[in-house]
């Protein structure tokens, strides 16, 4: 009898510790949300965002369409408005006078689509960097360089700058399909299903590589392989982060995401 009672006491003590831990975690989450301006109390006064914004008179959450174009440093293109979800197949001329179609799905590994120009100064660093086959997280990446069509770019200049074994497609349609307003701009694609892992621009290859590695890691890409668990965890984590930010009224382009400005 004493043994049973003792065991029950231990179990109750452990459960108590667990409950206290959960309550503490919940309190930290609520505190963090409050710091971000979110009040979970439906009777909270105006001036803070409510968790339920559908009530009459509630403060409307800003939508993506409400957010103006993000500002960046000189030479770096602002992200495109809207979110590119799936990459399009690339089709166009090649610098040697031929033509090429590149399928973006059904290809294992990562694909980096680099929208470059022969005339922009910022692009020069990337043309030079791509003479060495790029890697992300230690894994090789399929690189496809896209320039404007021969009507706007000199094929001989493109051929001169292009990596010796690099694939270059000259296509205005590719710029339009991916919503790219100007070079340099980059789209990182999961070759399995053509889903876009990340997109944007940077002032140099070193900076871009760090951003790409982070985007790849967030999407569940390990250095050499990704497991189902990696995928599921990354997807869940991404959704959680997006949801928490959205609940806090933080959407793409929010000034708080670029604290240096």
């Amino acid at each position: 009898m004493t043994l049973i009672v003792g065991t029950l006491v231990i179990i109750v003590a452990l459960l108590s510790v667990l409950v206290v831990g959960l309550l503490r975690s919940h309190a930290e989450i609520v505190r963090a949300l409050h710091d971000l301006g979110v009040n979970l109390d439906p009777d909270a006064p105006d001036g803070t965002f409510r968790a339920t914004a559908s009530e009459p008179g509630a403060i409307r959450r800003p939508m993506v369409s409400d957010v103006g174009p993000a500002s960046t440093v000189d030479g770096v293109l602002a992200p495109t408005s809207g979110r590119l979800v799936v990459a399009h197949d690339l089709a166009g001329a090649t610098p040697d006078g031929g033509a090429a179609v590149v399928s973006m799905s059904g290809r294992p590994g990562l694909t980096l689509v680099a929208f470059l120009s022969t005339g922009c100064g910022t692009c020069a660093d990337f043309w030079s960097a791509f003479r060495t086959a790029p890697t992300i997280g230690g894994s090789p990446v399929r690189l496809i360089i896209v320039t404007h069509s021969p009507a706007a770019e000199s094929p001989s200049s493109v051929a001169e700058l292009a990596p010796e074994n690099g694939l270059v497609v000259m296509s205005d349609e590719a710029f339009d399909d991916h919503g790219v307003a100007a070079a340099p701009y980059f789209v990182l694609v999961d070759g399995a299903d053509a889903s876009v892992i990340g997109e944007g621009s940077a002032a140099g290859w070193v900076q871009l590589k760090a951003l790409l590695q982070r985007a790849a890691a967030d999407a569940g890409w390990a250095a050499d392989r990704r497991s189902r668990r990696d995928l599921l965890n990354a997807g869940a984590r991404r959704r959680q982060v997006d949801h928490a930010l959205a609940e806090a009224g933080i959407f793409p382009g929010d000034p708080s995401l670029t604290p240096e400005q």
């Binding site: 090649t94 031929g98 033509a99 179609v101």
Partner: protein, 163 residues
């Protein structure tokens, strides 16, 4: 579907295929050391139009008959090359057939490869179209599974026009 057109080819590319049309230019390369000379020698390969298509990632540099690509074919993959020949060759019996042939299971043999790869098989046909001679060369990644791949190749070839 995307239409790819250049150098006498117009190809409607089905989803999932990489394709490229090019016109190789004559190049010179240094003689190999075994020739013990500093002279330049003509680089091998045709200078006629070539069309390459494959269900895998088409490498930036591919040999006329798929070298550099066929080695990477999976069991359900295929590589297709349509290689042009000099116009004068159209008058020869080798290129007497008019138009692209339709691929059949029986055409594929493991020995019909430029460089024999274990498990794979290939087929080669000569024909002429638009008064120009061509060679059709197709490799499938796994001979035993060719019946699942050949219909895809025929779908691709049905979308090829010679201009």
């Amino acid at each position: 579907m995307t239409v790819l057109a250049a150098h006498g080819f117009a190809l409607t590319v089905p989803p999932g295929w990489d394709a490229r049309i090019r016109l190789p230019v004559a190049q010179s390369v240094s003689a190999p050391p075994s020739m013990r000379t500093d002279e330049v020698v003509p680089m091998g390969g045709t200078t006629n139009p070539i069309l390459h298509a494959t269900t895998i990632t088409l490498p930036a540099v591919v040999g006329d008959y798929g070298g550099g690509a066929v080695e990477h074919l999976g069991p359900h993959d295929a590589f297709v090359a349509v290689v042009g020949f000099d116009v004068e060759a159209a008058a020869t019996a080798l290129f007497g057939r008019q138009g692209l042939p339709t691929l059949r299971d029986a055409n594929f043999r493991p020995a019909t490869q430029q460089r024999v790869l274990a498990g794979a098989s290939g087929t080669q046909s000569f024909f002429q179209a638009a008064n120009r001679p061509y060679c059709l060369y197709v490799v499938v990644g796994r001979h035993a599974l060719r019946r699942s791949v050949i219909p895809r190749c025929n779908e691709l070839l049905r979308g090829l026009r010679f201009t």
